[in-house]
């Protein structure tokens, strides 16, 4: 057995933790030393359905922006400016509250299949 690193679990990452870090690099017991680091923890891969924006229907009311529980809707200058797919968990609340039905929830599997099909054609 390799000798144990005496500095085990002494990591004090300020930039947040990533899944490529080993047990020595991670902070002891999962302690967090910096507030606001939820931003560095990407939860987008939990999603099974993806919100897709229909630009023509969108009236930029930003009701979706207000309702999104994960702050995963970007807005710039008071206008809708896309989804944060690194954090969006695909709950579908945005699509549900949209008064003009400008957000469609598409299965991630379907998106993957389409992507595969496109790659095969090429």
């Amino acid at each position: 057995m390799t000798p144990f690193n005496r500095n085990f679990g002494q990591g004090r990452s300020r930039e947040g933790i990533t899944p490529d870090m080993n047990w020595r690099e991670l902070t002891k017991a999962g302690n967090i030393y910096e507030p606001g680091n939820a931003n560095t923890y990407e939860t987008g891969d939990w999603r099974t359905i993806r919100p897709m924006w229909n630009e023509e229907r969108c009236i930029h009311c930003l009701i979706c922006w207000r309702y999104c529980p994960d702050a995963s809707i970007f807005s710039t200058d008071g206008k809708f400016d896309g989804f944060d797919y690194k954090h969006c968990k695909g709950c579908g609340i945005c699509a549900n509250v949209c008064p003009t039905h400008a957000i469609d929830m598409i299965s991630e599997d379907e998106i993957d299949e389409q992507k595969e099909a496109r790659e095969n054609e090429e």
Binding site: R6, I17, P19, W23, N31
Partner: protein, 393 residues
């Protein structure tokens, strides 16, 4: 200066706690450890300690409050037995996983049902996989000494784990014993002032403890605990050597008693080790090559030291004061037998479950075990490798 005194095990442990003078003690009474917190509460009331004593409504709350105090940055302790430890069970895991250096004595007692208040190791064996360090004590002296050393082991930066100090309910907890206690200043100097690496009440350093982990981090955090346990083996020995300098008593991971040239060995923890040593001496006087191995640390399990101590013997009996209901013997038997497997030395290892619910282990019982081992060596055969010592069959 050394003071030779007559104390019960509980009194000795309470004295150790007085000398440790922890910041917080949260506890709930349960036989046979009740006296410890009862005496400690009188120390609090009489101004002998500076401790904040929290009377809680259950053992689940006792460990929760102790954990909260420890996370806040206090040197915190609790104390329990039996059903109390069982009720504390889930919080013990949390304390270990959050890496809080809590020291808590456990006066070992049977678990219900049937209701029984007497000595048994089933309570301690219930938390053997919780991540706490478990030290076992043969008598009041060892319980006292283990308490003092436990503080240093738990708080060592390479360890940072709770330590439970086990001693036999009633046999050790309530029997009057002669022991040496250190003077208060020596203990104070040995354990040192507590400076936690991090604390929730430190307003200058932001900290969030006890966070949520998914499958992408939990595994690594569990392994950090394994690494800390591995380190603990070294630290327990280091602290034991340092303790010898102030007490004259040396402690390691195990005590190997007359094992150097032994053919037969009994492996046993806590007070029964004393009986085993007594019988061992008698049989040695008759020319039999017998010895005793007493693990002092059960978690971490000192398998390297045990293999080294037992490598020369021909037959080993492991005595367990707890059942696992696996039908494969007691908890320590499994560990010892596994540790010896890779030696490929054809050491016969048998198990005796004994003393459940406080049944006495008589000297004749120990002698019987050595006789059985003698027969096994003579015939080379083991007809039954899990046996029940003193059971009416």
């Amino acid at each position: 200066m050394k003071n030779r005194v007559a104390l019960t095990g509980n009194e000795a442990v309470a004295q150790a706690m007085r000398q440790i003078n922890p910041d917080v003690v949260a506890a709930y009474p349960i036989t046979p450890s009740t006296e410890v917190v009862q005496m400690f509460s009188s120390f609090v009331n009489n101004g002998k300690v500076d401790t904040e004593f929290v009377t809680v409504e259950s053992e689940h709350s006792a460990m929760s409050a102790t954990m909260g105090a420890s996370a806040a940055g206090a040197r915190a302790m609790t104390c329990t037995s039996s059903q109390g430890l069982a009720y504390m069970f889930e919080v013990v895991y949390v304390a270990a996983s959050m890496r809080l250096p809590i020291v808590f004595p456990v006066a070992n007692r049977a678990l219900s049902a049937p209701i029984n208040i007497h000595c048994d190791h089933s309570d301690a064996m219930g938390i053997k996989q919780s991540g706490v360090i478990q030290l076992f004590s043969e008598n009041a002296q060892e319980a006292y000494d283990n308490m003092i050393q436990a503080i240093r082991i738990a708080e060592h930066p390479d360890v940072l784990l709770p330590v439970s100090v086990n001693y036999d309910g009633f046999i050790t907890s309530h029997a009057l014993d002669v022991l040496e206690i250190l003077d208060d200043d020596t203990v104070k100097e040995f354990i040192g002032e507590y400076h936690p690496q991090e604390a929730l009440l430190n307003v200058n350093e932001q900290l969030s403890m006890g966070n949520f982990d998914m499958y992408d981090y939990y595994f690594e955090h569990k392994y950090q605990q394994v690494a800390a346990m591995e380190n603990a083996k070294r630290v327990i020995e280091e602290v034991g050597k340092e303790y010898a300098k102030i007490s004259g008593r040396t402690y390691g991971l195990i005590e190997a008693y007359k094992l150097d040239d032994a053919d037969m060995a009994i492996v046993v923890m806590n007070s029964a080790a004393g009986s085993a040593k007594g019988v061992c001496d008698e049989l040695r006087a008759k020319g039999l090559k017998v010895g005793v191995l007493k693990p002092r640390a059960f978690r971490p399990f000192p398998h390297e030291a045990i293999v080294d101590a037992l490598k020369g013997v021909k037959a080993v009996a492991v005595l367990d004061r707890a059942e696992t209901f696996s039908t494969l013997g007691g908890p320590m038997f499994a560990d010892v037998r596994t540790a010896l497997y890779d030696l490929k030395a054809d050491i016969k290892v048998v198990n005796y479950v004994y003393g459940l619910g406080g049944r006495d282990l008589r000297l004749e019982d120990v002698e019987q075990v050595y006789n059985d081992l003698g027969d096994i060596i003579k015939t080379g055969k083991v007809d039954k490798f899990v046996r029940y010592l003193g059971l009416r069959e």
